[in-house]
């Protein structure tokens, strides 16, 4: 006989096991790794080893953490990643809001079509879309030549659009824009139009109606969208890799380099943990904000 308690375990057991094996355990391994030494030829040094080999570096240490905080460059890369994430989120808000508002205020029969058009690019492969931007921003593209010819009129030297922070930003915004449009649209669509009538009736002009009625009610949507943009951007490495120059390295790239390049696994683990902690803090902030907002909606 399957009791209520047993049923609960049967239901949640398998997913729990999955998460334990493939999420909790690896995370713990990662944390453990960050306290170890890198092996002589990459990988990890064994915990215990006969003295004399591997420069005497074995066992556990906090050396990687000291290393992280010793060189300012790592902090710089963290801050730069933050800056790109913040800028991307702001740009997404600015670009997504008018579009989401337009779709939400369109006639019902057009809305689904418009949302489908927003989501359609996801049908194609992520990397292919990034490569497409390489072509659009490349020096031989029509777009680049147009920009450069305009600059030439003002006597400015031609610029390369590709392999720059500008290209990285474009790539990030392009990929993440739907993640801002959709939550924002879902929120805006639920607004009661009579509130705008009431505001107008009480003396509010167009701008005041937006600022006092539409904007405050859309904040939860903005918050959801921001979380869906900021956190992924922080950890991205494909876009800086493909579209960025040598200066545009972000945390994600750094981590990837440690594991696949210099093969300093402990340091890679440390970086991952620093990133995870940061993301947890940000996520916590977002969710605190969300709870603060929903007390009246």
């Amino acid at each position: 006989m399957i009791t209520h308690r047993r049923a609960k375990w049967l239901m949640s057991g398998p997913p729990l096991l999955f998460l334990l094996i493939f999420f909790a355990a690896p995370s713990l391994i990662m944390i453990f790794t960050s306290f170890r030494f890198p092996g002589e030829f990459g990988g990890l040094a064994p915990i215990s080893i006969p003295a004399g080999e591997n420069n005497g570096n074995y066992g556990l240490t906090i050396e990687t953490y000291q290393f992280f905080f010793s060189d300012i460059i790592y902090l710089e890369i963290f801050l730069k990643s933050f800056a790109i994430a913040t800028l991307t989120t702001l740009l997404c808000i600015i670009m997504a809001y008018p579009l989401a508002l337009l779709i939400a205020r369109s006639e019902k029969k057009f809305r689904n079509l418009m949302i489908m058009l927003v989501v359609l690019p996801f049908a194609s492969n992520f990397l292919i879309r990034i490569y497409a931007w390489m072509i659009i921003l490349g020096p031989e593209s029509a777009f680049s030549q147009l920009i450069n010819s305009i600059l030439a009129i003002f006597g400015v030297a031609p610029v390369t659009l590709l392999f720059s922070s500008f290209a990285v930003l474009i790539g990030m915004v392009y990929v993440h824009l739907p993640f801002m449009i959709l939550p924002l649209y879902t929120n805006l669509e639920k607004h009661d139009p009579i509130l705008l009538d009431a505001a107008q009736d009480l003396g509010a002009n167009g701008w005041q109606r937006f600022w006092y009625v539409t904007w405050p009610q859309s904040l939860p949507g903005i918050l959801s969208g921001s979380a869906l943009v900021f956190i992924p951007v922080l950890g991205m490495f494909a876009i800086p890799d493909i579209l960025g120059g040598t200066d545009d390295i972000m945390i994600g790239n750094l981590i990837k380099d440690q594991f696949l390049g210099t093969r300093d696994w402990p340091f890679g683990s440390t970086l991952s943990i620093m990133l995870t902690l940061t993301v947890l803090c940000i996520a916590g902030l977002f969710s605190w904000f969300a709870r603060y907002q929903t007390r009246f909606l």
Partner: protein
């Protein structure tokens, strides 16, 4: 003193004429009601006064100036919506203070006036609550407070009591009458509930299919309906087919189906052979047992067919000769009794001559 003049206002939605050449004068300080069945155009007219819809033709004059082209936010009118339309993301205090903020008053002034308004509507302790934390009646009061706080020249109310239960509705009706009298603000009230209209208004305009059937004080409309529609819409009324057989300056003599000859007060514009109905209100009908005698000129014998008891009054369905049926309303003034007569009782029915009237078809 006339506040608002509505001149030849017409509004069409495609082929449907929602408001058909309406003319109306609203007096300052009055409680004016637009009453009519669903779809009669009363809400459309209200929206045009508020400025949310533009009429296809006609003018609306405030102090003699046409305000057709003035947008809603610039008109000195406020609306109380049926769903109250309180801003869910603002506190009660912020909701009430919103119109003051929009007209650019200082923060200090807003706070003082909101505080005193909250006291007037007895919601002071709810100042920092949000609309979803209020009951229906409380939301109602916030909506009124918000509409009245900056003393608009006109308050437009679109069936504001529709969502309330009966007891609360009655209480709010009394509050509304006091509110309007104290504030001195002109109210234009839209409803389809005729009892409410009769109870609240100084004057009522009965609307039907985009046109105004009659305008007047409640008692005038009730006692002297100008046509069949008005007579039927307001209260209950007995209507028996009748033809005019004689006219005079004071009376009309009718041949009423099933009853024979009956005289009613005279009415302008009625000629011999006009067809219509003889109309008499149930509460004007007098009933006595057949064993008694009445002195009234016309009396008719009949039997009680059925009755409806609603506590304070009972409506009796009476079958007269020739299967003519009328209804009579009598108060249950005999303590402990649900009704004064039983089904099948033979009774005599009569009414005073001035109680009945002739209405043209």
């Amino acid at each position: 003193m006339t506040l608002l003049e509505i001149r030849n206002i017409t509004k069409r939605f495609g082929n449907f004429v929602a408001v058909d050449d309406i003319n109306l004068d609203i007096k300052a300080g009055e409680f004016f009601t637009l009453l009519g069945p669903s779809g009669c155009g009363k809400t459309t007219l209200l929206r045009m006064i508020a400025g949310f819809d533009a009429p296809d033709s006609g003018e609306i004059l405030l102090d003699g100036h046409n305000i057709i082209d003035v947008p809603p936010e610039k008109r000195p009118f406020h609306t109380v919506f049926q769903s109250y339309a309180l801003f869910p993301h603002m506190t009660v205090a912020d909701n009430i203070g919103f119109p003051l903020k929009m007209s650019g008053k200082s923060l200090e002034e807003i706070n003082t006036r909101v505080a005193s308004t909250l006291k007037e509507v007895e919601l002071s302790q709810f100042a920092d609550r949000y609309p979803h934390e209020l009951s229906g009646g409380q939301k109602q009061r916030v909506a009124f407070a918000r509409g009245l706080i900056n003393q608009p020249r006109l308050l437009l109310l679109d069936e504001p009591l529709g969502a309330l239960d009966e007891k609360l509705r009655e209480n709010m009706q009394r509050e509304l009458i006091n509110l309007q009298a104290e504030a001195g603000v002109t109210f234009i009230y839209v409803t389809h509930a005729q009892n409410e209209a009769l109870a609240l208004s100084h004057r009522i305009a009965i609307m039907n299919q985009g046109r105004i059937e009659q305008i007047g004080e409640p008692s005038r409309i009730y006692n002297y309906p100008v046509n069949r529609f008005v007579a039927d819409f307001i209260g209950k009324i007995n209507m028996l087919d009748a033809t005019v057989i004689k006219t005079s300056s004071s009376h009309l003599t009718l041949k009423v189906a099933g009853l024979g000859e009956v005289t009613v007060p005279a009415r302008d514009g009625i000629k011999v052979n006009d067809r219509g109905v003889m109309a008499v209100r149930p509460e004007q009908i007098r009933m006595v047992a057949q064993t008694s005698e009445i002195a009234d000129e016309f009396q008719f014998t009949g039997k009680i067919k059925d009755f409806f008891y609603i506590g304070d009054v009972t409506t009796y369905i009476i079958d007269l000769a020739n299967s003519t049926r009328i209804e009579a309303l009598l108060p249950n003034s005999l303590p402990g009794h649900a009704k004064l007569f039983e089904i099948g009782d033979p009774i005599i029915v009569s009414w005073q001559e001035q109680s009945a009237q002739f209405l043209l078809n």
